[in-house]
Amino acid sequence: MKPAPFAYHRPRTLDEAVALLGSEPDAKVMAGGQSLVPLLTMRLAAPATIVDISAVEGLDTLTADDGGVRIGAMVRHADVLASPDVRRVQPLVTAALSHVAHPTIRNRGTTVGSIVHADAAAEMPVVLAVLGGTVEVVGGAGRRTIAAADLFVGPLESSLAPDEVATSAWFPALADDAGVGFAELARRHGDYAMVGVAAHVDASSARVGYLSVNDVPTVVDVTGVDAADAGEAALAHLEPGGDVHASAAYRAQLVRVLTARVLREAHEDRQGRGAA
């Protein structure tokens, strides 16, 4: 379990990082390395070049204000999870992060890295999707903002260009009349979930996001559907598959059960905030 040879760069500025991504062959960005390093050591990935952005200035900023939560590309999961401001502004981020792997991994892994890794079994892409957040990227063609709906294009595939690097992710603040909920079921504590569900409800809408069900993070609008029936309704938009941990029928059952639980939690959360 040793990686194949690669060239390693640790730029100090974003411009340098973008230039390296544009000029070096088959380059891959590394932030916390918690997904990439295992892929390298198992030789499931063998990029020619690693661009380590951990020394790039200005990527470690975490802000939470009335508009929302902005998480810089080098902010570790653990710091986001521990932030009372994040919890206050957008509690779904905090709720989901407590399910991300284990403390040692959260100490190194970055939230933005997890999002652009675009693993359909990961929590934070779904949270971004269900909240309608965005990701800021910089590349050879300049800066742009990618909406969550346009970010996840396939299994482990985001819409970032090869010479682009994500600099931050933004999650909108929870409105006063809204509520959220999150639940997942994993075989073991901290494992990738067999099914995970994130919900956002307000006076006029109910959206539910699913991880480990489709091959990309998937959001289903269940506005107007009873919590008890919402999972069944959502299944019309989902294609739960079977693997060594869960059969397709069992995944569908978890969609039903967890959707009902999470929607009830979100409604309670909303009521707890004083919404009618």
């Binding site: 379990m1 040793k2 194949a4 079921l185 075989r187 067999m194 869960a246 069992y250 967890l258």
Partner: protein
């Protein structure tokens, strides 16, 4: 007065070092400059013929020192690996070559061996070896092996390595047919594996000036590896030293030997004149070490109105993987230990040991017993269900009674000796386990839970475990002139606490201080005669040998002291390392001084040793060392019992299953355990805790997910679900029973494997009890079981 240490929960002397990260495992061994590292080209196919191996692209890689394929192997190295335990019924035993010759039979089989400056370069080189395969159909799983549409080995018809039948107590099929009640069960249990956190690893250094080999390897038998390496490399035993450093877990997988790498590493080290190291990575451990447990079972049972067994007729199909290096030990254990604490009436058992194109099967903690316990305990539950009787009471009427020992089953056990239980008290044990879980009131508790919409269930499983099998172990006790006591025994340690318990035994017997004892294991330079650490045998075998060797050292100390103090041996005592006359403590000699006196000297090196020089001691009219004596204060002895000693235990678990998600939660886990006289109850409980944790893994989480082409789909810790601390019970209620073994001087029985044995049986019973899936007979017939599988079972039983 020294407190007797036998039976005390003495703190482990190993822990300070190991917990502070100061252990030295095989990978930590510094063999000096010039070390090269090995990596292995492994078969990507479960079954294929090797058409060609093209090394052109590898030999140019900078840093590659050698690439070995089968064609490079000569002499005994070109022969198949040893078949360690031959058996007359193993008519079609097969072992692999150190490097595949012509054909590969599982994904992971070693094909070529690369030696390079570091493991990075070695792995790069592995990727450049071009092997052309002619892929053959793979035989995966017991059904495919039994169907034999394709053969694993062309010359093994029916994929059948062995068929063994044993019977006792009459014509079982006839008795079953004539019984007032009859049931038949079809059961299935899947593979798991030992999964020590440290995988396999070997380092070798060839010393041309001395013409000898030093080998460090992560094994459960250093003497076994030594003998194998000597045979395969054409060396005399005296040219080979094998040292087993700290071992990060074995659980059985490291008793199989020699692994191909254990031979290829010294072979390459000698050929290259450089030390060579191989340290297995996790994926390699999954696909090229060993698995266990996979069996299909058919039980026919006849019983009376009380549930008493009249006849038991069992047929087993055992998946032994691609080769049979460890013989038939696992299915023999299943077929004999299946009987547990019960009298079976007429018993017949037949097993078929089958080839598949998967990783080899060798003993994993429990070694066939979990499967046997599963078959018998599922049968007991089925009988109780059939008769509408209490499950504990059905077991009770079948128990061997305390006055029936020694109890002869009339079968042959895994050591080739009669299956004869030496001692036990199974009815008392049943009372204890029932008390631990409030068995008699559980029904009411279950009804109350049901009223709240909760499903809880209770399971019980009982086992008997033959431990401490022979042939022998030995020990050497040496009292130094400093008074320190150096003890060596040849079997190896994987963290069990041998250094602690053997020191307890020596301190007790010799009368020295516990802190003065230092124990060395697994080093052939210190104790060249040994068997190994397996079959829950270390405490029984080496414990007894250490005790006997300490007694010899004590006898000599008393003899010398009696002479020096001009006292009778009978009047002497040894306390805290000082020999004194009883009632006259001022008349004394410490053991260090006695050690000085035991060794007549010409030269003195310090004040103490002057006392033993030629002008100080000795009768000028006699030889300094008497004819029947030898210098030094030492004791050496061996323990070789007639047969195994039988430990026993009963486990109960209470589980809760989620009506919606089918999650399985453990509410209480209880164990009653009898391993004879306890040396160190804390260490025994630790063994039980570890065993239970491993059993939870085997019952609820782990499996080897092979696809039909023989690819292992979950060959990483991400998908092979070894339980975390968050998945094992918070606490385990343990109660002990001590029925001493009459077979050894201390009354000890083994304890290492016990905790894992009943897990599949006890969880199947508890989950089934929680679910109430019983209307159409026994519902849980396949283990392990996951929430997904429980959900599917509910669907099949329309019990959502």
């Amino acid at each position: 007065m020294t407190i007797k240490l036998m039976g005390q929960g003495v703190q482990r002397v190993e822990d300070q070092r190991l917990l502070r990260g100061q252990g030295a495992y095989t990978d930590d061994i510094d063999v000096g400059p010039g070390l090269l590292h090995a990596a292995v080209v492994r078969s990507p196919h479960a079954h294929a013929r090797i058409v060609d191996i093209d090394l052109d692209a590898v030999l140019d890689v900078e840093g590659v020192h050698a690439v070995l394929t089968y064609d490079d192997l000569t002499g005994p190295m070109a022969e198949p690996l040893p078949l360690l335990i031959p058996h007359p019924a193993l008519t079609h035993g097969r072992t692999q070559y150190a490097l595949a010759k012509d054909e590969v039979n599982y994904v992971g089989e070693a094909v070529a061996f690369v030696v390079a400056t570091d493991r990075y370069v070695a792995e790069d080189a592995v990727g450049k070896v071009k092997v052309t395969y002619d892929v053959l159909p793979a035989v995966v799983g017991i059904e495919a092996a039994r169907a034999a549409e394709h053969l694993v080995h062309d010359d093994v018809p029916g994929n059948l390595g062995a068929r063994l039948e044993q019977q006792t107590g009459g014509d079982a099929p006839a008795v079953v047919a004539a019984a007032p009640h009859r049931l038949s069960l079809d059961l299935d249990i899947e593979r798991s594996a030992c999964m020590p956190l440290e995988g396999r690893g070997t380092v070798a250094r060839w010393e041309p000036a001395l013409d000898r080999l030093q080998l460090w390897t992560s094994t459960q038998s250093s003497t076994g590896v030594r003998a194998a390496v000597a045979v395969k490399l054409g060396l005399d035993l005296g040219q080979v030293d094998v040292i087993t450093p700290d071992v990060g877990g074995g659980f059985g997988v490291k008793i199989n030997h020699p692994w191909p790498e254990e031979l290829l590493v010294p072979y390459a080290a000698r050929a290259l004149g450089r030390p060579v190291k191989f340290v297995e990575d996790r994926r390699e451990h999954f696909i090229s070490s060993a698995h266990e447990r996979g069996q299909v079972q058919h039980v026919e049972v006849g019983f009376d109105d009380d549930g008493r067994l009249l006849g038991l007729d069992v047929e087993l199909w055992h998946d032994h993987g691609a080769y049979t290096p460890y013989g038939l030990i696992v299915p023999i254990i299943t077929s004999t230990q299946l009987l547990g604490p019960y009298k079976p009436g007429a018993y017949r058992v037949v097993f078929h040991s089958l080839y598949t194109n998967t990783v080899i099967v060798t003993p994993y903690r429990g070694a066939g017993r979990p499967q046997g316990c599963y078959a018998m305990e599922r049968t007991m539950d089925a009988i109780a269900q059939h008769l509408g009787k209490d499950r504990a009471e059905v077991r009770r009427v079948n128990l061997i009674q305390p006055d029936e020992f020694p109890y002869e089953h009339g079968l042959v056990f895994q050591d080739g000796r009669p299956l004869t239980y030496d001692s036990g008290d199974y009815p008392a044990m049943l009372d204890k386990i029932k008390a631990l879980v409030d068995w008699d009131t559980f029904g009411e508790r279950q009804r109350q839970a049901a009223a709240e919409g909760r499903r809880i269930g209770l399971g019980l499983a009982c086992y008997v475990e033959g431990t401490g099998v022979g042939p022998y172990e030995g020990a050497h006790v040496h009292v130094e002139t400093t008074g320190k006591v150096k003890v060596a025994t040849g079997l190896t340690s994987q963290g069990q606490g041998h250094q602690t318990v053997f020191a307890q035994l020596v301190a007790d017997e010799l009368g020295c201080r516990f802190s003065d004892v230092e124990v060395v294991t697994g080093d052939t330079r210190r104790m060249p005669y040994a068997v190994g650490t397996f079959a829950s045998r270390a405490a029984v075998m080496s414990g007894s040998a250490v005790h006997l060797a300490a007694r010899r050292a004590k006898e000599k100390a008393l003899r010398i002291a009696a002479d020096a103090l001009e006292a009778s041996e009978d009047d002497l005592q040894i306390v805290d390392g000082v020999v004194s006359v009883k009632g006259a403590p001022e008349v004394s000699l410490d053991l260090g001084t006695i050690s000085v006196l035991s060794n007549p000297l010409r030269y003195a090196f310090d004040e103490a040793s002057k006392r033993a020089t030629q002008f100080q001691v000795g009768d000028p009219g006699k030889p300094p060392v008497a004819e029947d004596d030898e210098p030094g204060l030492e004791g050496r002895d061996f323990y070789s019992p007639e047969r195994a000693t039988f430990a026993s235990g009963m486990h109960a678990v209470i589980v809760e299953t989620d009506p919606e998600t089918a999650e399985i939660r453990i509410l209480q886990y209880a164990v009653v355990h009898d391993c004879g006289t306890l040396i160190n109850p804390m260490i025994v409980e630790g063994q039980i805790h570890g065993g239970v944790a491993q059993g939870v893994g085997g019952a609820l989480y782990e499996r080897m997910a092979y696809d039909s082409s023989g690819q292992l789909l979950n060959a990483s810790f991400m998908d092979f679900l070894m339980p975390y601390v968050s998945e094992v019970p918070d606490g385990i209620d343990v109660d002990h029973l001590e029925t001493p073994s009459p077979l050894n001087p201390l009354g000890i029985k083994g304890a290492g494997e016990a905790g894992v044995i009943p897990s599949a049986a006890v969880f199947a019973a508890a989950i089934e009890d929680a679910e109430g899936l019983r209307e159409d007979g026994l519902a849980i017939t396949a283990m392990p079981i996951s929430p997904s599988e429980l959900f599917e079972l509910r669907l099949a039983h329309q019990n959502p």
